[in-house]
């Protein structure tokens, strides 16, 4: 068993897991903000997909990976705006809107991939992000080198995003508004906080983070886009938020857990361990459900998933 562990838990494995966790952390940090304002956003997967596609397309056509990121963020802001318009202004069912946004994004990304790039996309590569050029001494550090110093910039953005969101939530007045709107929108409105404005901004922020997260998928190494590239990662990010009880640090830890599970799956397949590789990927979902049962319904923001009707008795 000890021998097995030493084969699996290598520095390379942890580095890979952190890389897998990065898009999840980015998406979860956006998601946790809008979930806390009371909007149930299952549309993160669609946002990430659009982000991944527009980062690739933007980077390909401008020849600059940073432009790709910018275009991804702008495209996803538009998707966030659509989500906000439907769920906040038109007060539509939040799950239905999310299902529609995911379907729409899948259709749009695949269609544009074919109309813009033709049918054979396998050879197309865009400019992308390399690992950050840390001093060679740091990169060669035993263990810490591969885990922390052979990564792209997205990994560091993700790691910094967690304390930043935590600070905004619990130390700033914005955080107070966000939490008030999610827990008790009526009271927030009486306090002079506009529920509509806060929810719009939160969904736009979630969109921007979804764009970053998508870019972290498509233009950090693969530098291409394939159909359904997110493979449900937006839903995993949602699961991370649930796992973390709507707390940014908890959500970040959840993303790490899912990242480790994915790293483990890869390791099992490459090392050839006689165990179905599906077991480690299923595991975090089961843990999340068990946690959900253990903590009960109280840990969810009180106004979560319920539309807010301004001025309605």
């Amino acid at each position: 068993m000890g021998e097995l562990a030493s084969v699996i838990f290598t520095a390379e494995f942890l580095g890979n897991s952190l890389r897998f966790a990065t898009p999840l952390i980015l998406a979860a940090m956006g998601g946790v903000v809008n979930e806390r304002t009371g909007v149930l956003n299952l549309g993160m997967d669609g946002m990430m997909l659009i982000g991944a596609f527009s980062a690739f397309a933007g980077s390909y056509f401008t020849g600059n990976a940073w432009m790709g990121v910018l275009i991804a963020v702008i495209s996803c802001l538009l998707i966030g705006l659509l989500h906000a318009f439907c769920t906040v202004t038109l007060v539509m069912n939040q799950v239905v809107v999310a299902v529609a946004i995911n379907t729409f994004s899948m259709g749009l990304a695949s269609s544009l991939l074919r109309t813009l790039f033709g049918t054979s996309t396998s050879a197309l590569r865009s400019p992308g992000f390399e690992n950050i050029a840390w001093p060679q001494a740091l990169q060669d550090l035993p263990f810490f080198g591969p885990v922390l110093f052979q990564q792209t910039i997205f990994v560091y953005i993700a790691i910094l995003a967690v304390p930043t969101i935590w600070w905004v939530f619990f130390k700033s007045t914005w955080g107070l508004s966000i939490r008030a709107v999610g827990e008790y929108p009526k009271a927030a409105e009486t306090m002079g906080v506009s529920v509509t404005k806060v929810r719009y901004l939160a969904l736009l922020f979630a969109g921007a983070m979804g764009g970053l997260s998508g870019a972290a998928l498509s233009i950090t190494g693969l530098n291409t886009f394939i159909d359904n590239m997110t493979a449900g990662r937006g839903f995993i990010a949602f699961a991370c938020i649930i796992f973390g009880r709507f707390h940014p640090v908890g959500a970040g830890l959840g993303a790490l857990m899912f990242g480790l599970a994915q790293g483990l799956q890869l390791r099992i397949q490459t090392v050839g361990i006689p165990m179905p590789y599906q077991i480690p990927i299923m595991f975090p979902y089961i843990i999340t459900i068990v946690l959900l049962v253990a903590m009960g319904s109280g840990s969810v923001p009180a106004g979560w998933g319920t539309p807010y009707y301004p001025d309605e008795e």
Binding site: L40, L42, C86, L90, V91, M92, N93, V95, V96, V97, V99, A100, I101, N102, T103, F104, M106, G107, L108, S110, S111, R114, T115, D227, G232, F235, I236, F238, A239, I242, P276, Q278, I279, I281, M282, Y285, I286, T288, I289, L292, V293, G296, S297, V300, W304, G305, Y309, P310, D311, E312
Partner: protein, 361 residues
């Protein structure tokens, strides 16, 4: 509140015109947005839509292909509708379909000496039981622990997806096969084909189930209680109904239907268990149920519409170069427009009131 009651009793007890007009408006607007995309690709939208129609409905070959796609959409659509009548959002139909497919395969590759009708029935029931058991978990957690069913069913979809992948690469894998798939079902468990086409008898199951549910929600006490449980659980509780038990059962039956839908796909289309055979079906089912305005008979029509979109898209792609995936955009827009136009009266009322409040200071 009074408005709401009238509306819900309305579509349970008689045909209401808005239930027919709203989906048509949604479809028209959805296709219009699609037309803009087609036009932006330099193709005449009418041309593209003609090929879509031709490839989906205008010949028996294309119509039967459409109907084959309609069957799983209608069955899972009915599963989603069943729980949504009680305001329970079962987005876990996807996972329940997978569990049903696993159950169907276990029974379908064994028992070669059972007469075909009995064998098919056994498959359907066992698949339904697995789907129902899988749906019991979120149902119980929702009813007794107050845990959001949307979250639990979403998580369980992935458990089912990876479980199926594990089963089809492990215990149920066809020996010596390169592909992750099971051995074929025995002949008695394969659904009979109709009129010499790929269309199988599953279409009859879907129609019968839709008619039954239509009767069930209009005429039976249980159906009425289910609708009431969604709108006013407290009143029902004081009337002496065990609401928690009722809601759990609703979810189990919804899962049973979804599981059986998975079995019909395995028995009617694939003939064996394969990986990823119905990715996204559970989400399409939500679109089907919403476009049907939660009417069981309407589900048949909306499933036909989405089935036709999926089937016709191929010939549209061949003839005009508009990619198949384009129809997902139309599907999403149709749903957004249908739901938005259903909410419109309420939205207008809210904004009128807000304007009045502002004016009067």
């Amino acid at each position: 509140m009074g408005e709401d009651n009238k509306k819900s009793l309305g579509f349970a007890s008689r045909i209401n015109w808005s239930g027919i007009v709203t989906p048509l408006i949604g479809i028209a607007l959805g296709l219009s947005v699609g037309a803009i995309f087609i036009w932006s690709q330099g193709v005449n939208p009418l041309h593209a839509y003609y090929y879509l129609l031709e490839g989906s409905l205008l010949s028996w070959a294309s119509l039967s292909g459409t109907l084959v796609k309609t069957v799983p959409l209608a069955l899972t659509g009915l599963a989603v509708l069943y729980s949504y009548k009680s305001e329970i959002f079962n987005i876990g139909a996807e996972g329940q379909v997978y569990m049903g497919a696993i159950g169907a395969t276990i029974i379908g590759i064994n028992f070669p000496n059972v007469p075909a009708p009995l064998h098919i029935l056994m498959v359907l029931v066992f698949a339904g039981i697995l789907g129902g058991a899988f749906a019991f978990i979120p149902g119980y957690l929702k009813a007794y622990k107050g845990i959001n069913e949307i979250v639990v069913t979403m998580l369980m979809n992935y458990i089912a997806l990876y479980f199926l992948s594990m089963i089809v690469q492990g215990p149920l894998k066809e020996p010596d096969s390169f592909f992750p798939r099971s051995v074929p079902l025995v002949d008695t468990a394969v659904l009979p084909k109709l009129f010499g086409s790929h269309l199988h008898i599953g279409i009859v199951f879907a129609v019968v189930l839709a008619i039954f549910l239509s009767w069930f929600f209009r005429r039976t006490t249980t159906g009425f209680k289910m609708i009431a449980a969604g709108h006013n659980p407290n009143a029902l509780h004081y009337a002496g109904v065990n609401v928690k038990m009722l809601l759990t059962k609703v979810m189990v039956v919804s899962g049973f239907i979804a599981g059986a839908a998975g079995a019909v796909e395995i028995m009617g289309v694939h003939g064996r268990l394969i990986e990823n055979f119905s990715i996204g079906l559970g989400y399409d089912a939500i679109a089907v149920a919403l476009l049907a305005n939660l009417s069981p008979l309407g589900v048949l029509l909306s499933a036909l519409f989405f089935g036709a979109l999926k089937t016709g898209a191929n010939s549209m792609q061949i003839s005009t170069g508009i990619p198949v995936s384009f129809v997902y955009m139309v599907q999403a827009m149709v749903i957004l427009f249908v739901v938005a136009s259903k909410e419109m009266p309420r939205i207008i009322a809210i904004y009128n009131k807000r304007r009045r409040v502002k004016k009067n200071g």
